[in-house]
Symmetry: C2
Subunit: 300 residues, 2 copies
């Protein structure tokens, strides 16, 4: 037994890797896991630990799950090699993937039945903020779950929104945020390329619109990628068919009609269909540019 807080970060993609780094900086004993073994090796070269997840699960204070979706989250927690049955009573699962609120409530109930706390804790902020420990976390869960997860929240987040005492409220707010963020990226691309047809250059677009009522957080963050012709994936096109798909699934279940979200989703699907799925999500502009015969900055 040691006093050092012991955590596993499962999923070392751009967000999970940053959380794992932040936990390391906080002085925790951090074990990082990913199906991409090169990410695990990179993490170990930075001072992190690896090991056999099944063997260490019983000694964890917290398991931070930063996988892609609900199916992967369930597999990690309760699949063939699921960790929850092996975890000690009073430990906490911090679930960071974007998932339906109902799924979060189900996972909370199944974890609690085994004496494990569950914090519904989807994240926002992008890979750069993840690496600096400055994420926003939209969290909900019991006060015991918050207490057990507190070291992780303090290490990884600049802002923790405490959104309720049961799982689901965090995921609900995340879905709301993703609806807006996804639509705003696609709308930025629609407006930027529309402007090009009228002689407004991408540079001028960013310079003027970012100071006008038409601006958004996503416009200011993503439009410069188009101006620079740089589609290095900070957040990829492929995120959006997934996340806006989750939003529309939840909406359909609630008999809520979301026509703008549906229109935006189609533009990301088209961008993926054009082969740009693993580029930065600003590449959704390429759908508009190709349709209208425009040449974006950096293209031949």
């Amino acid at each position: 037994m040691t006093d050092t807080f012991k955590t596993a970060v499962i999923g070392l993609g751009s967000m999970g890797y940053g959380i794992a780094q932040s936990c390391l900086r906080a002085g925790f004993d951090v074990h990082g896991f990913d199906v991409v073994t090169s990410q695990m090796e990179r993490f170990q070269a930075e001072g992190g630990a690896g090991g056999d997840l099944a063997a260490i699960a019983g000694s964890l204070d917290a398991a931070v799950i930063v996988v892609l979706n609900a199916a992967q989250t369930e597999e990690v927690l309760f699949g063939d090699n699921g960790i929850v049955p092996a975890m000690r009573e009073g430990a906490v699962v911090v679930a960071c993937a974007t998932v339906p609120p109902e799924f979060a409530r189900e996972m909370e109930a199944r974890c609690n039945a085994k004496g494990i706390h569950y914090l519904d804790a989807p994240i926002s902020g992008g890979s750069a903020k993840a690496a600096r420990g400055q994420l926003s976390i939209m969290a909900s869960g019991s006060s015991a779950a918050f207490s057990a997860a507190r070291p992780v929240l303090e290490a990884a987040a600049e802002t923790v929104f405490e959104l309720g005492e049961t799982a689901g409220q965090g995921s609900a707010m995340k879905a709301v945020n993703q609806l807006l963020a996804g639509v705003h990226i696609a709308t930025m691309a629609e407006a930027l390329t529309f402007g090009m047809t009228q002689g407004v250059t991408p540079e001028k677009f960013v310079e003027v619109i970012s100071k006008c009522a038409g601006t958004s957080w996503m416009l200011e963050n993503r439009a410069p990628h188009i101006v620079a012709g740089d589609y290095t994936p900070h957040s990829s096109v492929n995120i959006w068919p997934k996340d806006l798909g989750i939003v529309l699934d939840i909406a359909k279940s609630a008999q809520f009609s979301a026509p703008i979200t549906a229109a935006a989703l189609q533009q990301f699907v088209a961008a993926a269909g054009m082969g740009h799925g693993w580029e930065d999500d600003a590449a959704v502009a390429k759908v508009y540019a190709r349709n209208a015969g425009l040449t974006l900055p950096g293209e031949e």
Copy 2:
């Protein structure tokens, strides 16, 4: 002959009235005109002038046109009682309505043929900023047009974007801004009401999302109207079928497909169809609320 700058403001709606007030504060001789005579009387009670537009047209330094659209602009300038033929050489028309860039170029040519300068000068910022002389103006035109219009720009605007040496570039940027602003308002309404179906209150929506990546200028400005249940029209629903319609007309002419704009436009049309056309544009949320059986704040 006097040294006092003499201007007419034609169109005393919420934006034009503010511009007229700003010109008064700057010490100009300001004549205000509107088809709604009560607005003219109100302006005269505040120290403005009225009179017979045809009689004073020849002595104006600047005519500021703040009507609803291109058709009204053309009527004021070149209709049966159009002012341009009566204006003195070297005076300037400052055209503030949202119009197609091509229309602005046509008006410039027709004014110039009569020796009148034309500044393509659409405005942004809302009625409160108009009243304080803090508008943003997206202007383009010859340097002579800018010089002649300078006193008006300085009186009415906090920020003047100088977007090019011919008419059209100002209107192009305004169309880009309106595309974004209109979509962002409707998307805010879609996200806020979607959140309500998942237990996210409108208050919590504003509190959390305004600090997250899903925020926009319009969300921060308009969502509080929904929280307050206050649909006093700072900018009305009816603006958007008009302005997004202009955007889509321009887009169609350029063979530019704008599916997200088209989806947002339909939501404003539905809001007008529900009878909310003269309410604040945040009332587009009522379309979503009715479809989903939700009760917005302030509704019974």
